[in-house]
Symmetry: C2
Subunit: 396 residues, 2 copies
């Protein structure tokens, strides 16, 4: 055994065996390629609005460089409360004590998992799904149980009976991401009510990922937002909401998110933050305060950009006979299969090398997505049209 | 059972039972108190130097707000390599591929633990120690085995036989923090060599926390830095170095640190970063690049400030007959007991309420430290003298 092999063998198996991100693999392959149009990640091509960046810069200039509150600075917890109250005006009151600032939506997920699951337990999730959730469940020592969704005519559907049939005695939580990445599946209020009722009866936690709630193209709530557990749940339901500043405010690179949970869990969540990254930089939080308090117009722009991108992709894909797809109801991805292509990962490499477009292969998203490609359409129209023309030239 | 109690019961026991930080408890008690002089945390009263803050602000202005490399941006990994080469000129070459940027020193520790330990395993550490390490071990599912250090005449000493006698069959790693928080204990080269040799023979990982290596008041290395495993180890030894930008560059609030490890572990560490916070903001990393490349003079200032603070505290404590202490060899804390005081936590509250000075109670630091108080002395002289006068008035 070489020294390198011995070092790897000395690692904890669960760490050594954690699956590589199928998206990072594509990015590493194509990032430095001239002229590549990257549609692989869940972000657009518009930087964070200047007024948000300037708020963070002002905080830096003011010397906000010391340790701060583990749960988040009070103005940010208040701003989250205000934003959520505007968004879910018919929901319950949003006490600032319900909000805990985290160092990314990913960390919100990691901490939510650590709250409820660990070795000897399991978490059920519909797939295809963002791969980091199942990977984080696995690293926690718990088992992720995938429940493949149904796919027909380019639309994805969750079989709620199948979801709860997968629940075992050791299952602690179900993970519901609606609108969903990568599928665009968006639960109706009736579906959310069924899930909530059955989770309550089974004593299960719901980890609710509604980060794409504003990127919604349907008719509910006058199209302002997707339906939400907030419309149905009580403040003390066993729900851990995970969220992020990344998507609404184009702050993907900032690494700031939040957990919303019953205040009684505050000490536990504070400890989990303390023992993972010990809080978020004050100057980053002040940027987030400004985003929440003054960013509603920008969200409108973001959603309009996503909607236009969705139309562009829909139009171009409709001219490809080998592709069957329908416009998604929510989020900002097209997730489509190509007739005759079984190896999505290879197609991902080929699209980078031959078309100069980066997509994320469905192999990254768990059972049910293996043959699909994910394309992020929250991009400015010109670049997106160019990308679609290149894809058309290769697959047409 | 009330609804709140039922919610707590539904949490994972390891999460619910994670110990609260004894320091956060003090901060929450005293933070809003007028005129309080806070010496409880491991940070000074000087903000990050303007040239570092300006580098981050320039990056924000340039629109560096997108997702980036999970291992850290290449210029930062290069800057870390250059800095470490300057610091340990007689050590092995520091390949940039040895460095992984994390969202705090705390996250470096969390990820290092996740690399090597988990349920059914244990990690041995000398105490008193920074409490977050044992807490993070516990949350990982592993057991932290405390080995109390010896204390005599105000000095702390590690019994290396006792340390290795505590190693069990399920032990995967030992945690060595030198210079040590809170004790100031600083391993000699001979002690480091003993630890390294015995860890090698036992096949154990060393998690090496040398974040206070520049805050050293002894004679080795012409006083430029404390002795280090880097002086003795091979590049492919089973050592995970955890580090932070916080102390040397007064960047405590930025939440950025790093792991140094053999490059063969790169894929594993990248995955663990991806599935915890998915990287560090580019604009934060660019601040760190500037700190590393242009911050050596500031480190000299920081160390001089710590040295002067150490002298101030030493002089004042020497006039208190109830206090036995000696100046520490490293780090920037005095860790002292008060004759007749058995409840350090209560003394902590009393010092806040009656003297207007915040210290950290030794109860926070594990076995052996219960009767002690930790005082951070990296402060500007005037405020520190005032704090010591207040302590003297109360305890003298």
């Amino acid at each position: 055994m070489t020294i390198d092999q011995a070092l790897l063998q000395a690692l904890r198996p669960a760490a050594r065996q954690a699956p590589p991100s199928g998206i990072v693999e594509m990015v590493n392959h194509g990032l430095e390629r001239d002229g590549l149009i990257p549609l692989w990640a869940g972000e657009g091509d518009v930087p964070t609005p200047a007024f948000i960046r300037e708020a963070a810069a002002a905080s830096l200039a003011a010397g906000d460089t010391f340790y701060t509150y583990q749960r988040g600075i009070p103005p940010l917890r208040q701003a989250l409360s205000d934003y959520m109250t505007r968004l879910y005006s018919e929901g319950f009151p949003f006490d600032p004590d319900r909000f805990y600032v985290t160092g990314s939506g990913m960390q919100a997920i990691q901490i939510a998992i650590a709250c409820v699951a660990g070795p000897g337990t399991s978490v059920v999730l519909p797939t295809p799904a963002w791969p980091n959730f199942a990977a984080a469940v696995g690293l926690s020592g718990a088992e992720a149980i995938a429940v493949p969704m149904d796919h027909a005519d380019g639309h994805w559907q969750l079989d709620i009976d199948a979801l709860f049939n997968a629940v075992r005695d050791d299952t602690k939580a179900i993970f519901i991401n609606s609108p969903g990445n990568p599928t665009g599946w968006t639960a109706t209020e009736e579906e959310l009510q069924q899930i909530l009722s059955r989770a309550r009866r089974a004593g299960l936690w719901i980890i609710a990922d509604e980060i794409y709630g504003r990127f919604y193209y349907g008719q509910a709530n006058d199209g302002f937002r997707a339906d939400s557990f907030h419309d149905l749940a009580e403040p003390d339901d066993q729900i851990l909401y995970v969220n992020t500043m990344s998507k609404n405010w184009a702050m993907t690179g900032w690494r700031i998110g939040w957990i919303e949970a019953p205040p009684i869990l505050g000490d536990t969540i504070e400890n989990l933050i303390q023992y993972s990254t010990s809080g978020v930089a004050t100057f980053v939080q002040k940027g987030a305060v400004t985003a929440l308090n003054a960013g509603d117009d920008f969200i409108t722009e973001q959603v309009a950009r996503a909607r236009e991108g969705r139309d562009i992709v829909a139009q171009m894909l409709s001219t490809l006979p080998r592709v069957q797809s329908s416009p998604p109801d929510g989020a900002f991805y097209y997730f489509f299969a190509v007739d005759g292509v079984d190896d999505a990962r290879q197609l991902g490499f080929d699209l980078i090398d031959q078309a100069g477009v980066g997509l994320a292969p469905g192999t990254a998203f768990g059972p049910g997505g293996e043959r699909f490609m994910r394309l992020c359409f929250i991009r400015q129209a010109r670049g997106l049209r160019e990308a679609m023309a290149r894809i058309h030239a290769m697959l047409g």
